[in-house]
Symmetry: C2
Subunit: 478 residues, 2 copies
């Protein structure tokens, strides 16, 4: 195994330099590559396959709840972007502008969509007349562009992939329910598929979506104690409806404005997978999203019958899991480290002795444990093991959140947590923007969310000492 | 049925004004809408669902043949686009240029990808070292932008959706096989899924891909006798390999350039579906791609037991086909014309009398025929009928191609066909660009392809009378 050890050592230790460790994994597990386009990345097959799993899970959920996919243009004319005042202020500084087509200057410049509310609003205003046309529950899968000064693969790139849902409704209540329903869909994705525990809550006014009324969020905690916003769902009220004239005639024939929502998750979820589950041997992919769930590594594959048996096992396992057989001429030790780096949940080893004993060895990536299993039991053992790995990964991640969540009742405690303990800071807040700004300035922490499950950990604001209004989770974040 | 007739009359007759008929269908069947972005369209849910069916069919075929999906940036720096001389000449006049990010001017302008050869080349040059790394079989689903002066929904828009496959190989033979394999995959999609017969062949030098060595194409014929290029597959040789330094060391350790292919189909296939199959009552959707294969319209639905039975049938049919029950309070006649307009292959009518007799009426969209079927037989009758509709649609379309394919041995005959008979002109060609240009100038017809199945319909060029080299299919085209 000396070769295996050598390969493994090629990545930086996670606790030594988390940022470098992250970059190493992105490169060594072949997840992304840089291109000559500043701030943009190439999503390589292994990471793209994870995104496809996320897409397929969400798309099914969306459709089951009556949503339909559409495709809007990638460009937004300047005048259309400007229709909702807060919205344009929020996005204009970071949009990419198309000014020429071939050699000709455009009469009106177009931005590459940073998000598509304005296009959906324009379309909805045209196609909706009556309450009978409502609700409209549309979604689109696409990429958007927000120019970023400093970028990191998956976490912050100028272009990224996402889905954006845009819905309109007759009543406020219906729209609010939709906003929360989709937040729950995202939370289920994170917890039940990606094995990432999340905290649900509402963003402060400062952190909410530009042009919306309320933003709900799921927040995850990375291994290094920094937070990551994993998905957001916005209740837009009637703001855009009024700017874009999205009206319908109700049952009494009166004109009413619609209530609106929008919601999205992005390829940054792949960044979260890396930072929540990865270790010093590389990536650890949650089984339900894993492009390869079982990797078969034959031992002494030149010997009679080994490859035949490995192929036979592959065909059997293919019926219950995503499986790959690596019959290349590399040494087993090399293969072991390669698939450890790629975070494949289960490695199945099979050699001449195993065949003799009608057994295989199953090694799990999350714990490193190995078990010997009868070949007859694979159809039951493998699904069980995949579930077990999922549960163990989720519990481990949850423990990390619990250990890295601390309560502060004054700024000294707050700073101590941010500087020394890392993680979420639970602290009360008076509701004033000034305190929020001051906390950020002094600690680098931002308000992550006001959790739905409120507690009163103190009765005064952690910053100014005035009467507290809300419990807020704070933290440094990606 | 008077209301039904009225609705139907709202579209222009196909033989009166084909272009207006097309526009009417796009609007009335809710396939696409214009946006305020010049030249771009909104793909509405019904059309997008067809695109999703195409995607899901092709994606499966791609993966079965070892292809992997990736995602490349949507931008290409000017200097990268310029690396292959013919390629930039072909595309530069129609690209959209991003020059600013927020208020800042970029140091190098970026074009929005018109196609992604250059990005794939740059990436491949980086990740491929040895013959062991080959072949690389990548594909991406995305949108591309080519600025167009005159646009029509699905057929020619500034932005369109497509997939683009990009592969590299050790040998010329392997790359050529890949090019043809993907052309066949496209032909199978058209014929077996979309019920559109296609002609396979090679493009002339004039019509081939900018920067490639050979372009293969599938050509379809629309109801009005105009041709439509339905998919292309390019053999790129080593042209890009040399410009981008895509080299690998072979088994002897010598550096070699790779052989390359690229291939794609686009959302214009939806335009082809409309123009091949549609009629004066609206769209006719090929069953295998239909978002709704069976629409259930209850008759006298207010009567006891009708809706219950309709729901029961829906649940049964859902197991074998994509089914929808329209239980809205519109009159059955309105529903009939609505789903005729949308081209749903089978309408199932069920009313009190039918329930009494344990039967339903199945009306097929392609022929208008109605049959009465026992409720017990739906699980066998519906799949049979869907297949039958597919076959009938294909045969009808094939007959149209046969009737509109004519042979010309001189320019008078050529002009007569183009002007009066419409359709494909089969004619011999000497191989000179001059004749190709002259034919276009005088008739408006372009060379569609040199079919793989060559015949000698004459021994002289239809244009100049010199010795003929190739049989070419010509035609006016979308």
């Amino acid at each position: 195994m000396s070769k295996s050890k050598k390969l493994v050592k090629e990545i930086t230790s996670r606790d030594e330099d988390f940022a470098q460790w992250y970059t190493d994994i992105v490169k060594k597990a072949e997840l992304a590559d840089y291109s000559s386009v500043k701030g943009c990345m190439i999503i390589r097959p292994y990471a793209y396959a994870m995104w496809e799993s996320i897409q397929s899970y969400l798309d099914k959920k969306f459709k089951e709840t009556g949503h339909q996919n559409v495709y809007m243009p990638m460009f937004i004319p300047e005048s259309l972007l400007q229709k909702e005042k807060d919205h344009v202020e929020g996005f204009a500084p970071e949009v990419a502008w198309v000014t020429h087509s071939g050699d000709e200057e455009l009469t009106e410049k177009l931005c590459v969509r940073p998000t598509s509310e304005t296009l959906f609003c324009e379309h909805y205003a045209k196609i909706v007349q009556s309450y009978k046309d409502l609700p409209k529950l549309y979604n689109q899968w696409c990429s958007v562009v927000r120019c970023e000064k400093t970028t990191r693969p998956f976490l912050r790139t100028t272009e990224f992939l996402w889905q954006e849902g845009h819905t309109i409704h007759e009543t406020k209540e219906e729209a609010e329910n939709e906003t929360k329903r989709m937040l729950n869909t995202y939370a289920d994705l994170c917890e039940n598929v990606l094995a990432i525990p999340v905290l649900k809550g509402r963003k402060t006014e400062k952190e909410k979506f530009a042009g919306g009324e309320a933003t709900y969020t799921i927040e995850a905690l990375m291994h290094d104690g920094k937070a990551l916003q994993a998905g957001t769902s916005h209740f837009l009220g009637q703001n855009f409806a009024k700017s874009f004239g999205m009206q319908y005639s109700d049952k009494e024939g009166k004109l009413q404005y619609v209530y609106q929502t929008s919601w999205g998750v992005t390829t940054r979820l792949i960044g979260a997978i890396i930072m929540v589950h990865g270790d010093d041997n590389g990536l650890v992919v949650p089984p339900r999203i894993a492009p390869i769930q079982v990797i078969i590594v034959p031992v002494a594959q030149h010997k009679d019958g080994v490859l035949e048996k490995a192929n036979e096992l592959k065909d059997r396992i293919a019926k219950i899991a995503r499986v790959k057989l690596d019959d290349s001429d590399k040494m087993p030790g090399w293969k072991f480290s390669e698939y450890e780096m790629k975070g494949v949940p289960i490695r199945l080893e099979v050699g001449p002795r195993d065949i003799e004993n009608n057994q295989v060895v199953l090694a799990r990536r999350d714990t490193g444990d190995k078990i010997t299993v009868s070949m007859d039991d694979l159809e039951t053992k493998i699904p069980e093991l995949l579930d077990d790995i999922h549960n163990n990964m989720f519990e481990k991640a949850k423990k990390n959140v619990e250990e890295k969540t601390h309560t502060a009742v004054n700024m000294d405690e707050f700073k101590d947590i941010v500087e020394n303990k890392t993680g979420f800071v639970k602290a009360m807040w008076c509701g004033d923007r000034e305190c929020e700004d001051k906390i950020r300035e002094e600690t680098g922490a931002t308000s992550r969310c006001m959790p739905f499950e409120q507690e009163e950990v103190s009765d005064t604001c952690v910053c100014c000492g005035k009467k507290a209004k809300k419990l807020v989770y704070w933290g440094r974040a990606y």
